[in-house]
Symmetry: C4
Subunit: 289 residues, 4 copies
């Protein structure tokens, strides 16, 4: 057994399966002592790593600790890469894992850093790895939070169709309004309406009531049209609020005490199953063989 790290290929099927299972339990699951420890160190490593990326972007900080920042970011990224390869190795259906929600996030957490060798700016994209926290938060056993997360997610899912209708309507309307404002404000370059895409950007900024002011109408007609858009925007911003109010009320009434556990399917890596689940809800394999 002592050489098995160097002769992984030569392990007989059974031994390899045992190893895979052990790695799987540590990396994917959270209900063994090692699994908890792994999740906790991953949690700290992710937060540390995002903090490093953020600090590197601050000029004064970067000037002082540049070498330290670069070295520790490389170290963490290599650790994450090893972790990703181990996940691939221990999952029974690696492709399913690769294209699952968390699989994609895991990959996106390490790719930007390697791309950073060629395109320096891309390394800042690696702060996307903070989304990995979603998976790890389960170790805190916050059933109250989990339930409420489920209510919010279900509300969003239930109102998906309405929100699509609403958003497509918003998109059509900002294209039309943006073009109109461009036609009106085109001859006043100080207004900032220098092209229709920028005018559409202005329409979005206005309809969502953000209102930066970097682009703003200066003509009387433009301001009149803008006022109408804003007052209409009143009604428009009320629509998603109304949709969500209704869905949250509905979701809260429904039985929201569905206990979930931290079991993870060994075949596709899907975590998030109901208590007492025997088969994975995604690929149908036994959860705890």
């Amino acid at each position: 057994m002592k050489w098995n790290i160097f002769r992984l290929k030569k392990l007989d099927k059974d031994e390899e399966n045992k190893l895979k299972k052990k790695i799987f339990e540590i990396i994917f699951e959270a209900n063994t002592p090692y699994g908890r420890l792994f999740d906790l160190s991953l949690l700290l490593l992710i937060i540390l790593s995002v903090a490093l990326v953020i600090l590197e972007s601050v000029p004064t900080f970067n000037a002082r600790y540049h070498t330290f920042l670069v070295v520790s970011e490389w170290l963490i990224t290599i650790l994450f890469t090893i972790e990703y390869l181990l996940r691939l190795y221990s999952v029974q259906k690696p492709l399913r894992y690769v294209f699952s929600f968390y699989g994609i996030i895991d990959l996106l957490s390490i790719l930007p850093f390697y791309f950073g060798i060629f395109f320096p700016n891309s390394k800042y994209l690696s702060s996307i790895r903070i989304l990995r926290l979603f998976r790890i938060l389960r170790i805190f056993n916050l059933t109250g939070l989990t339930q409420n997360r489920n209510i919010l997610l279900r509300s969003l899912q239930q109102s998906k169709d309405r929100i699509i209708v609403f958003l497509s309507f918003v998109i059509l309307i900002v294209v039309v309004l943006g073009s109109f404002m461009y036609a009106i404000e085109k001859n006043h370059p100080e207004s900032g309406f220098t092209s229709i895409p920028i005018s559409i950007y202005w329409a979005v900024v206005t309809m969502t009531t953000v209102g930066y002011g970097d682009v703003a109408p200066v003509t009387g007609l433009g301001r009149f049209l803008a006022s109408i858009i804003m007052i209409l925007g009143y009604g428009i911003i009320a629509v998603p609020a109304g949709i969500m109010s209704q869905e949250i009320a509905r979701a809260s009434k429904e039985n929201d005490h569905i206990p979930t556990n931290t079991d993870v399917c060994r075949y596709c890596g899907d975590n998030y199953h109901l208590d007492n689940s025997i088969y994975c809800k995604t690929c149908g394999h036994l959860l705890n063989p």
Copy 2:
């Protein structure tokens, strides 16, 4: 039959009716293969055409591909014009079609471009043709979306009276507040309150919480009044949200499973009828004679 394109006038009544009916089915309806094909190409043409208008407004793009953009826009507009004339020809009551919702949009989709010969800026208004997508989206048979669109539209319609009351109240209040702020800030031209219309524009920008900052009070009294307006605006922005919440909840409870189909009335061009409709709900003629 081979000459009938050049001697349309000489077709006997019956042949002409057949031709009209065929054109009508292709252009207005979506449940024949040709109708679907027509809708699909119209869909692509509209998106392409709006994309061209948008791209033409971008200086760097326009400088490079000016001729290409102008020629293709002319081509598409001529196609749309032919389509409009065919719609007029095949509908039995052209006037009803002309003044229907979609009839007006169809006309507005081609007019700005021709006006563009005299007033160059007006051609950007032709992006209004993107609203024609509303009609074509039916080919995707998205019943879920259609139902939800109906719920949202019904909610808006039901709350129409309240929204009118609300908006008229908002209009009165911005006129009064705008005048007051003008009286206060008049002597500080750096604040931007240079006339009451601009002050009213400021009041709209503030009450809707857009807040560009191009016009903003600089005196102590002005800022105090503005603070009161904003805090009041808190309550005011809550009103449409409350109205919509209630109406969406009500509309969702009502039976919203009214199936609609893509039949179009041959007399007035009204599409949007319930399944099993025999007569047009707008003009009362048989739908499928």
Copy 3:
């Protein structure tokens, strides 16, 4: 009778009462032909008068038509003054009228213009006369609108206590936050935090999500605190929306088909009574003696 205009004092009690009653019916009521005509001309006069005030503030317009604007504003204000005196004369309890909601607005509609002789800016305040439209809108018999206005007003009234609690909380919080931001940003005058009142103004602008940007934090700590304030503001802006949603839902359920008429009490000038009212709800006198 021919001298009665010049010897009003000498009219016997009975004749005077008849005259008063006639004037009252024309000016206050809307269900006689003359009353309707009076209301309609008042409506037009108010809109015209506010339009004149607005136009006078526009420099280019004022430069051209200054004399015309000034003369017509004087004429209209004198007409409004005569109307106010006639209202005072024909109402049986003038003091009650003077301190009623509409009595105060009627007075505020003419006062700013006379003050304008001494303080030129104050004449722009006379656009408050647009609020007089509230009373006149009854001539349109828009029962749908009236009902909905009642629902909205009742919702506001019902949620008055909660809104007071909410607003007092907001006021306390903006004072504290404004002071904190001043302490943080004081040494960076380019941020615009030059005194605590201005910082409080900033806190209001931020909490209401208006966000002009004329005052904005520049230090790291200031921006961090501002971010927390904004995210908290998320929850805070949701509170009035929640209150209004609930009240509008409740008010809509209640019987909102209370028909109102346009009778006006001859004693205190209160209009807004239920159908079949015999006594004024404010002063208890007979409505139609």
Copy 4:
């Protein structure tokens, strides 16, 4: 008895307890004449004191009345300090009081001023003493307001878990979006995206629809991403509104007529007990021994 102020230590146990009880009744309670008087003067003193701090920050005012402002602020702070020491003395469990909500606010009301000797800016933080008004407002016996405050507080408490889920989601998302925008806008310093922390600040300013405009994207890609963020922000801002709507509706339905009184526990200083309470809900001691 005449020397007892100078020989407090020498008072026998019984006399001291009587004195403590008397001080306690005056300072903590509001249902004796002296207690009411104390609360009222404290109310005025707090408002006066915050007004002085605010006025001192206004340069023109401070230049004129500097000495007066400084002297009166010192006087008030010394009075508050004496009051705090008396509270500590008269409460039976001082530590409980020190770490209670109002105990912390009472301490924070005096500390910043003394720190102001070393760090001049810190004295502006003493406007936090305005939060002490929360305790004193009980003297007005505004049961309507108290009930509604309870409904709002209970709604907030009930929706606490959901709001935590929502806020943690918002925090994760602004970190990711901020980093992405930094990577996109990094090479255009005129946009203001000079580091990831500032980009995160921008993401918060945008998602909450505040939109100062001091930091705003200038590249096409940046503006496109910003538009998507804003439209997504539509849905996100609707979530807390939906949560609050539902909770306020639920809290309003529940029995909200729980009368509370102004009794204060002599042991831990907790005020806010139900009528007829015999034991303190926080420490379990008799309320009126």
